[in-house]
Symmetry: C2
Subunit: 138 residues, 2 copies
Amino acid sequence: MLQQNFFGLYYKLYRPLLNQVNAKLTQYGLFSSQWQLMKLLMQEGAMTPAEIAQRQQVEKPSITKILQRLGEMGYVESTPGQDKREKWIRLTSSGEAVCRDVMEQLASLYEDLLQGSSKEEVEIAISVLARAHQNLTS
Amino acid sequence: MLQQNFFGLYYKLYRPLLNQVNAKLTQYGLFSSQWQLMKLLMQEGAMTPAEIAQRQQVEKPSITKILQRLGEMGYVESTPGQDKREKWIRLTSSGEAVCRDVMEQLASLYEDLLQGSSKEEVEIAISVLARAHQNLTS
DNA sequence: AATAGTTAATTAACCTAACTAACTATTATT
DNA sequence: AATAATAGTTAGTTAGGTTAATTAACTATT
């Protein structure tokens, strides 16, 4: 079964990968869900907690907690929207700096992991992942 | 950056996929780590908690807890090894039945997710994942 | 045979990261 | 104006991780 091989490997990779990523993140006092959120803000700019929750596919209270910690660490800040129920969340400059550092470190990890796969193969793998995501969320 | 695209998509897929898988599993009162463990036993046969821990890349106490719950649900059983420190864990027949059901349901989910990708593309994606896992754990 | 060191499994205490339910404040709808 | 819906928070729970410490059993060396 081709599908099961694919997703079997997908899962098999997950824990060891997470362990490696967490090892890099502890230098900055970050955990991986915090990092995921920072990365989202880095890539897409300021957004509200509700949008973050929807993007990350987790419930709003989970986001509230992560934002509280990131706020205490000085990595994010918020301003009220013109709709006064909303809060707009953005990275602070210190948050952006950390983000860049982490991205650099992870880039070299990722490069190592793709050693031995050609550019073309990786591109095909990307398209398969992208299509799976598309099929899942449409 | 090719690597970041690949791993960016890898992560992006993870939560929505987990949510779908968990939705299937709740019918059987299972959570995904419990399922991962059952699948391992189904595919590889009886083994000790220490080996499970090593295969899943988590610490032994985590496995102890999961096995306790699976035991309460009647999905696994254990017998002492000839080395009396060891416990050999295996699926019960009810555990095996549940495993087969879940596998069937997930197979159809996975098939849907790979719709639109050719056999060759999926094979290449598999090889990229396998190589990443290899690079990570060697 | 005794001792020292190692390994397998468990327990306890703690943490992260998720969840649901219920709440407040604000905005939108009827 | 009343009601419904939405954004965010709070409180409480749970799964599933962690480390540190404990017990029992095995191994090797004296």
